[in-house]
Structures are given as C-alpha cells and as structure tokens.
Amino acid sequence: MKKLRMLTLLAAASAFVVAISSTAFAGKDLKTVTFATDATWPPMEMVDANKNIVGFEIDLMNEIAKAAGFTPVYKNTAWDGIFAGLAAGRYDAVLSSVTITDERKKQFDFSDPYISVGQILVVSKSAGNVKVLADLKGKKVGAQIGTTGAFETKKVAGVELKTYDEVGLAFEDMAAGRISGVVCDEPTAAHYALQRQEYKAKFKIVGKSFTSESYGIAVQKGNKELVALLNKGIKAVKAKKIDEKLKKKWLR
C-alpha cells in the first residue's frame, strides 16, 4: 500500500515536471514570440496597478507584431541575468530598452533600432552646482547593474559607481541621501525626477543627455528569421508614424 502511494506521488511529480518543461519550450514556430522584459524601467516598460506589463515599448511591440503577423508574449524578467536567459533560450528575444552596443553585438544579434535616447544625470537638489558627471568626483553615483548608465559612470575617473538591481532602488537611496546622483536613460530619469510626486521636490535633472544610443531588440546569435520578422514590423510601424504617436503618449 505504501509502495503504491509512493509510486503515485512519483508519477504525479514527474507529470508536473514534464508539464512545466513543455510549456517553457513550446512555441518555436514564430507565430508567438516570447519577449523578456524587465518591467521596472518606466515609462518604457513597467507593471501597472492591474499587474499588466505596460509602457512605450509594449505598445510599440504590439503594433510591430500586428504589422508583422505574430503574437507577442511578455515575460517579466530581472535585468541582471536577462541576457544569460536569452543565451540559454528561455525566451526568444529581449525587449527591455536594450541599447545596441559593440560588446552586446558580439554575443547577440539585434533588430533595427526603434528609438534613440541618451544617458542623463539626476542629482538631488541639495547637491549644489553640478553640470556634468565629473563634478561628482569623490562622491557615489548609482545606476542599474549592467546598463549603459553603469558603464558610462564607470568611465568617469574619481566617481564611485554603485550598482543596483533596479533603478528605482537607486532613486530611493538617493532620496535617503546615501548617493549623490543617478545615471539612467533619459525617459526613465524624467519619469522619476519629474513625475513621481515624492521625488519631484528632491531631485533635478542635470543638463541634456550626454550620450546618444539606440534601442534594439536582442535575439540569439544567428536567429536571422526573427530579426527579419522584427525589422519588417519596425519598418511598417515607422512608415505609419505610429512610433511618433506613442512617443507623445508615453514620453514627455
């Protein structure tokens, strides 16, 4: 009797494992494309009050998918490790405000760029007269781990970089006075510094963005089919100027 119960348990457990793994590796026919996105990067991608993933990039991808003829599925994934997951094939692509850089191009293939942004510095109002990042020598500056903001900050000698798992934690730490500045993509900086009521009184944006970067969708190296599909959609959306409309909706 006991043996039988053990066997049943074992069978149930293995069925469970099979069920999980089959859902994880389903959908390789490009009718549905799974995108990993770190939904902590407002207003590009974030989780709204109804637990839906929303944002500029989500709206844009829905339009691209409509034009190219596939169904997008979004998977909220932590940024740190999002590329490791792509390399391991846990999803088809990364749609998460990914700047196209030479280092990333060595590891992954990218779609055509769909928007250009830049890095910008946000400081607390008590920081005094700060014009560029180099003015914060000897002070701590925060950025999200593995982002171009972190890489740019590291380049400036004398500025101590602190890396956070989420950019929101960096802003919260600046509100607590532990760091003097935060470097991130301009739209996100604007969201935190100008739209969040609790931060509006404390933070200010320094000048204009100091880099010029293009976002692309990252896919596994050699996945030419998917790149072609995405590029087709991006082209169609740009031709209809849908991206401009969405910029007005989501960005300042």
Partner: protein, 262 residues
C-alpha cells in the same frame, strides 16, 4: 537537589562531521577533500584559462574585504543584541522578557531578504546612515534574534543547582549570572555561535541587493559586462567555499581547545 555532571552538556554542531578532530587521523577527511578540491579547482581554472577566470579573480578582492567587514561588524553587533535578548528571554522581569520574546518571534517570522530590504530603506527614511553601516545593522538585527536563542539555550543548559549554590553563598542574582552562570555558558554556546558566524558570512551575500559592493555584487558586476555568467559564478562559489572551509576549520580548532580546557 542533584547537581548533574557538567561535562555531558554540549550542543552538537552541524558542521562537526566535516571537521577532522585529533582522533580522526585519516588523510582523506571530508574537510580535506573539500578544501583541497576547491583550492585545486580554483588554481586549475585560473592557470588553464586565465581569460576569463584570472580576470574575474582579479576583479573581486575588494568585494572579499567588504564581505569580511560586513560579517565581522554584524557578528559583533548581533552578539551584543543576542546577549541582551538571551538574558531578556530568561528574565523574570515581564517587561524585558516581553520585548525580547516579541523581537525573536517577529524576526524569526520574516525572511532575511525582506528584513534586509526593509531595515535598509526604512532606516534611510529616518536617519542618515552610510550604506555599509545600514547593511551591518540590518544583518545584526536579523541575526541577533538567533544568537539570543543560542545564548538562552546555553544559559538554560547550566544546571539550576549552580545558580542556587551561588545564591546560597550570598551572591546577588546579577553576581551569580556574571561570575558563575555566564562563564560556564560561554563554553557551551561558543561552538553554535561559531556556526552562526559561518551562516552569517554566507548570508552576507544577501546585502549585495543593497548595492553594497561585496563579493557577490562584484561578481555580478563583472558578469553583467562580460556576459560570462557561468564562469563568474563558478569563481564566486569557489571563493565562498574556501573562506567558509577555513572558518569551519578555525571553529573546529577552537572547539577542541575548549574541550581540552575542561
């Protein structure tokens, strides 16, 4: 009133099996195999494939220092908290007993990661505390509760007769606690506290979530730029393993000395 033989009162240590004692003369103890294996694997990887392994190893040393700083700071602070909590838990004073018991229950009921997040950001709203100190405080508050329970158990393992004998000699309760009970209890609790020390060192990797640049954080920073996730975590795991094995060896030696002194 019977006074029991004190020599039998020890608390078993979980890591004990892996640590060679003097009686354990064999060359291939579990500890030796793990330690030599870890050092050997690390040396092999670094020499055979300097790119990326040597680069990773060169990237993390300041992280190791931070890990030690956080661990030692937290262990000292949590010992203090633990002693107060342990004494509070056995105190006849309802007020102190209540505070200590609630503290232990609350802390044990919340996951360590949540506590660390909470204490770090809650502290930031109230007072201006540097990041490393906040991380140390967060770890110490968490571990203080566990230390308190270890110390309480240690004190309670000392036979009641000891306290009664001290009181009958005319000592006050405080004197009896300080001169008779605690010195004996310390011998009992040192090994489990050593164990907590190792656990704390490992859990200190959780503070990397607070942007404290410890060993794990440095590794993640390296991986995020190079995309060498597997290689980086291999090195990080080996470094942690080597550090904790050395620590467990030290604790084993300390235990031996305490037993020899009895």
């Amino acid at each position: 009133m019977m006074i029991t033989d004190n020599d039998n009162k020890t608390i078993e240590v979980g890591d004990g099996a892996a640590i060679p004692t003097k009686a354990d003369a064999g060359l291939f103890t579990a500890w030796r195999i793990s330690f030599l294996g870890a050092v050997g694997a690390l040396a092999y990887l670094v020499i055979a494939k300097p790119d990326p392994y040597l680069n990773i190893l060169k990237f993390v040393p300041d992280g190791i220092v931070v890990t030690f700083k956080v661990t030692i700071g937290a262990i000292l602070l949590s010992l203090l908290l633990g002693l107060l909590t342990g004494l509070g838990r056995i105190s006849g004073n309802r007020f102190f007993n209540g505070i200590a018991s609630v503290y232990v229950e609350v802390i044990r009921g919340i996951p360590l990661l949540v506590q660390i997040f909470y204490i770090y950001y809650a502290l930031g709203r109230v007072v201006h505390v540097p990041d490393m100190l906040s991380a140390i405080i967060a770890m110490a508050v968490c571990y203080g509760a566990y230390m308190g329970e270890v110390i309480r158990a240690g004190i309670q393992s000392i036979p009641k007769g000891q306290m009664e004998a001290a009181l009958s000699l005319g000592m006050t309760r405080t004197q009896a606690m300080g001169h008779v009970i605690l010195p004996q209890a310390i011998k009992v609790v040192l090994p489990p506290i050593g164990n907590e020390f190792i656990a704390l060192l490992k859990d200190s990797s959780l503070v990397s979530i607070l942007a404290v640049s410890d060993l794990l954080r440095r590794g993640r920073e390296y991986a995020s730029e190079s995309f060498a996730y597997f290689e980086t975590y291999t090195i990080i795991a080996l470094v942690y393993l080597i550090i904790t094995l050395i620590l467990s060896k030290l604790i084993g030696l300390m235990e031996e000395r305490i037993n020899a002194n009895r």
